[in-house]
């Protein structure tokens, strides 16, 4: 996070900007999140976030015990994504974005991010937050390989061929990027 604003305040500003600028999207975020609590992490910071029954947003320092749903990344990954140097797919496959939890919870977490991204196109307040994030250079790191495979190596050619015949391959021609 920027030196003068921690993750806690940044997430709060994100939700406040959405509430003020696009109430419809804000309602959609609340409907997607429900009563779930998620632990989100960036670099060495983590916060627990949730919406209360009255719709109010609560972001707190990480408490005791493990959260059922966790999402974590680092600032360099955010930079690489926003600068179009990294695809979401490769970030997930390489472990630069880590999402852990029951499938419905993880799906809801990504859906909330989608709503935020879509709304930010029309919300200068959210665009300013992105600019704020990009204004602080991340720590250097090794580039992510662009030849990450969607399927593990142990899938046999015959199995892959069967999936292709059934049009069930996520990406028939290999990785993008």
């Amino acid at each position: 996070m920027p030196a003068d604003r921690g993750l806690l305040a940044f997430v709060g500003a994100l939700v406040a900007g959405l509430d003020a600028g696009d109430p419809t999207a804000a309602s959609r975020v609340r409907a997607l999140a429900g009563t779930r609590t998620a632990r989100i992490g960036l670099d060495d910071e983590s916060v627990d976030v949730r919406f209360a029954a009255d719709g109010s947003f609560h972001a707190t320092s990480v408490g005791e015990g493990a959260a059922p749903c966790r999402g974590r990344t680092d600032r360099r990954t955010v930079h690489d994504l926003l600068d179009a140097r990294l695809e979401i797919r490769d970030a997930v496959l390489s472990g630069r974005i880590e999402a852990v939890g029951p499938v419905p919870d993880v799906a809801a977490m990504f859906a909330v991010v989608e709503v935020l991204l879509a709304a930010s196109v029309r919300l200068p307040a959210l665009q300013s937050l992105a600019d704020e994030l990009l204004g602080v250079p991340p720590a250097p790191g090794a580039p992510t390989r662009a030849d990450l495979a969607w399927y593990p190596d142990e899938i046999t050619p015959a199995e892959r061929a069967l999936l292709a015949d059934l049009d069930l391959l996520a990406d028939e021609t290999g990785p993008v990027g």
Partner: protein, 328 residues
């Protein structure tokens, strides 16, 4: 040709749907590099949410795409009589004397500077077409001879007498309308220029007005409507998607299937030509509507072509470089 930016008046009730851009392509036959520089404004230029996009991409054979798209507030786009500039990307046009395009994207290790002078015939006056919920107009400038340089993925490129193309587009519509287009520019190493445009629906299943303009030996020939047949085959996918936030939002479009080959057959009773274009690579640019929910996808397919036939009494047997753009 006289031309100028079409910024909306303060009392224009349609200004929220305003779009405008200046566009330049470079085709360097010596290196095989193909570049585009484009600065655009989306939405009421005075509205806080409206956006300006400066996009600069160069594709180098064997290296791939270099460059990026810089997205800023529309209020940060500097507009002149016929120029648009963000802090990173700028295009300026004097239709009678020269076209200049510059991009500096240090985070991408990318820089390009182009200066083009007219080297061909006038290609036609501005035209206006219905497009989606509104309309789209464009001016097309004469074929260019381009000098300049670029730094792309660590490689230095010098453009000396490269081919060039420039145009100006403006109108009113919403990104996300059920509308699209196919546009292409092919530049032969012998100076042939062919420009194709056709309006489509978003899915490219219906085709409206078709125009193929060909300049050969200083003369201009046009093919319209059913005088032009466009066929596509094969499959390619984008290897570069911009800008990053919208690419992340539309991760499902990363494997967009696009043509690997485009063929154009044209005949008007006097002239006829056949053009075969093989796609080398594709970049995807996601356009966001700042006024209401809506997105569109522009695909830039770069590659090489061969064209044979006859136009304006001249035999044609040309090879060269080109860009096909599919929008929708």
């Amino acid at each position: 040709m006289r031309d100028h930016l079409r910024r909306p008046a303060a009392d224009d009730p349609t200004r929220a749907a305003y779009k405008e851009w200046l566009h330049v392509n470079v085709f360097d036959h010596a290196s095989g590099a193909i570049g585009l520089v484009n600065v655009s404004v989306h939405g009421d230029p005075a509205a806080p949410a409206s956006r300006g996009v400066g996009a600069a991409l160069v594709h180098v054979p064997g290296l791939g795409w270099g460059g990026n798209a810089s997205v800023v507030s529309a209020r940060e786009v500097d507009g002149g009589l016929l120029s648009l500039a963000t802090s990173a990307v700028a295009v300026a046009v004097d239709p009678s004397s020269r076209v200049a395009a510059v991009a500096r994207l240090p985070r991408d290790g990318f820089e390009v500077s182009l200066e083009g002078v007219p080297a061909g015939a006038e290609l036609g006056a501005a035209s206006v077409m219905g497009f989606g919920s509104g309309h789209l107009s464009w001016s097309i400038y004469p074929r260019l001879r381009v000098d300049g340089h670029a730094t792309v993925l660590g490689q230095e490129l010098a453009f000396v007498g490269a081919g060039g193309y420039a145009d100006h587009n403006w109108g009113r519509w919403w990104w996300g309308d059920d509308a699209g287009w196919d546009w292409a520019c092919w530049h032969g190493s012998d100076g042939l220029l062919a420009v194709l445009s056709r309006m489509t629906d978003r899915a490219h299943t219906t085709v409206g007005h078709v125009l193929l303009t060909v300049e050969v030996a200083g003369r201009v020939v046009r093919f319209v409507g059913d005088q032009v047949l466009v066929e596509v085959s094969g499959t390619t996918m984008p290897s570069r998607r911009l800008p990053g936030a919208l690419a992340a939002l539309f991760a499902d479009r990363a494997a967009e299937r696009l043509p690997g080959r485009v063929e154009v057959h044209a005949a008007n009773g006097f002239d006829a030509l056949d053009l075969e274009f093989d796609v080398r690579d594709v970049a995807q640019l996601v356009m966001a509507e700042p006024t209401q929910p809506g997105f569109a996808f522009l695909h830039e397919l770069v590659g090489s072509f061969r064209c044979v036939g006859r136009a304006a009494g001249c035999p044609i047997d040309a090879v060269g470089l080109g860009v096909v753009e599919r929008a929708g």
